[in-house]
Symmetry: C2
Subunit: 390 residues, 2 copies
Amino acid sequence: MPRLASRAERIRPFIVMDILDRAQRLEAQGRKIVHMEIGEPDFPTPAPIVAAGREALAEGVLPYTPAPGMESLRRAIAAHYLRRYGIALKHERIFVTPGASGAFLLALGLVLENGGRVLTADPGYPCNRNLIRLFGGEPVLVPVDAADNYHLTAEAVRRHWTPATAGVWITSPANPTGTVIDPDMLAAICCEVEARGGFLLSDEIYHGLEYGRRCISALEVCDDAFVVNSFSKYFGMTGWRLGWAVVPEPFIDAATRLAQNLFIAAPTHSQRAALAAFGEETALELERRRREFEARGRFLYHALVNLGFTLGPYPQGAFYLYADCSAFTGDSYRFAVALLEQAGVAITPGQDFGLNEAANHVRFAYTTSLENLQEGVSRIAACLRTVSQA
Amino acid sequence: MPRLASRAERIRPFIVMDILDRAQRLEAQGRKIVHMEIGEPDFPTPAPIVAAGREALAEGVLPYTPAPGMESLRRAIAAHYLRRYGIALKHERIFVTPGASGAFLLALGLVLENGGRVLTADPGYPCNRNLIRLFGGEPVLVPVDAADNYHLTAEAVRRHWTPATAGVWITSPANPTGTVIDPDMLAAICCEVEARGGFLLSDEIYHGLEYGRRCISALEVCDDAFVVNSFSKYFGMTGWRLGWAVVPEPFIDAATRLAQNLFIAAPTHSQRAALAAFGEETALELERRRREFEARGRFLYHALVNLGFTLGPYPQGAFYLYADCSAFTGDSYRFAVALLEQAGVAITPGQDFGLNEAANHVRFAYTTSLENLQEGVSRIAACLRTVSQA
């Protein structure tokens, strides 16, 4: 029997998978579980996008597209950058990929050497670190907290940079904290990275899901940034598996070759459908959803504070709140399991997101209706009363 | 500006892309080009599969599936192994992936250590080598020829194995030669690999497109093989981007974690559609197509021999013929360009497939109608007469 490669050995299971398994077992027993652990919007794909997909299928011929994607879709994405961010982008710099996952593989494959170290925020999304390791790189977990709005700072980049550092990975709006990076700070980080000849990878997959603070694209302050975005979250197309990467102009040829080898191309029907993602009707529907997420976030923030959790910044983006639960527990994993089993509420323990104060935090996702969130909060309240009376 | 990573630098462009570009320029000028360079079936996706896809879209909700794929599809694939190969396979060993590309990333990510060497046939499909390099491995190009039916042999595996060798990559039916490996030889290779604790990666993406010789799965002779297959070629689903990997049982957990990080999941609508790939109606249509490919291959084989090309084995599988063109040229790239520009026939020069006698070979794909193939052959005949008279 061949041996498991060390890179695969180092990928630890997501703890939330254990929570999900337990939740499904409880549901199989007939319990109703309130899901606040899921990082996927609860809205269906907007109707115009589905209609465009159905039209593509009706034609019945779905050959490979060119490796970087359909030219019409790349042009539509370029127009989106002009409209939304005021950036004129050559469509040749845009690579349509199988999900943001594919875009990260592409970007890291282009710039990350074996042994290269990449600065990332802790807490942060665990897949990011694992993808860095896949290419032989090493994630450097830089602790961030509410004082930094849970983002890397230029000062932190300076302090943690070593000769082995290859680049910086920014995710804004962030997962698990939902915070949006300050535009000036992003610009300052960009300067630090450029001065050192490193790469800036900007993960913008939650753009559009923003509540007050404008999300700027790294491309507004750093033309050489590698930007990853996706149709999954804001555009409601998770299962369609479609994202994109923007690469600096000198990387276009290499990105084309790498995309050919990594994927051949992104799904054709998904690309055809995504052409409808930028239309007026879709935009109105997405704005309606954005407001709904905003209302949920606002409700949940106050409700959790009232319950005795300590929360950081007010909801800024994405659909997550990262809550300090140290008033109740010193072990967020056991706390999450107890909430699930006693209250039937599923949340994600901080351990999934890094090492920094992980045992004192849990993530709440507001990817379920306001009614469900209210039900979840009531259940947690009752559960916490029981615990504190015990 | 950050530097291009060395792995990306080492991925050379496919020469056929240059041929395709030139062909498209000629077509833009109004020339009719006969395409015999394209590795994609010219048939649309079978109607029952499209119908199942449309049904999935009609429901409008396309969330992520579990990372290894929908359980129903994994079970359907397992049933396919029982029916087709007589192998009882736990569905948990089957991982549905974004195309075979994703399955290769998964398999290599599981077993290939940095610096590991992988034995592959030369000529062979160029992406395979590039994927090996992506994970820091080193492809070892083992020359094969008509005497070996263009496949690795157990003897060649013994001869080329060194302490740095990690495993063997077999592709059968092969690209660019269309040859099918002998079952006893595959079993013998498996023994060699197992005796050395290496991995056997069996690329079976052209299975089903077979003309006389039965394609056995590596799993029939080696339960520990990593097998990659796809819905693209035989099932006619290229643009849907759906494939699968079968991994040995001890790798199931690691493969699940790796798939979560590499892809999140394969496209949901494609998975739903693929459930119809194993039905009776689809099977009849695919058999009709198989016979059509067989007829084309037979025609093209004799026609090319008559033209003066030297051909290896009679068509066995896939939709490729690899022809020795040394009667006409010592530079297959210039020959391919001349055929395109003078005769309007696009083919792939051998240089895309390796180093072994590459300048003396070209690949013909019979992914176009018999009428087009006849037209192509007439054009080549006229062109060769002109050349030989000059």
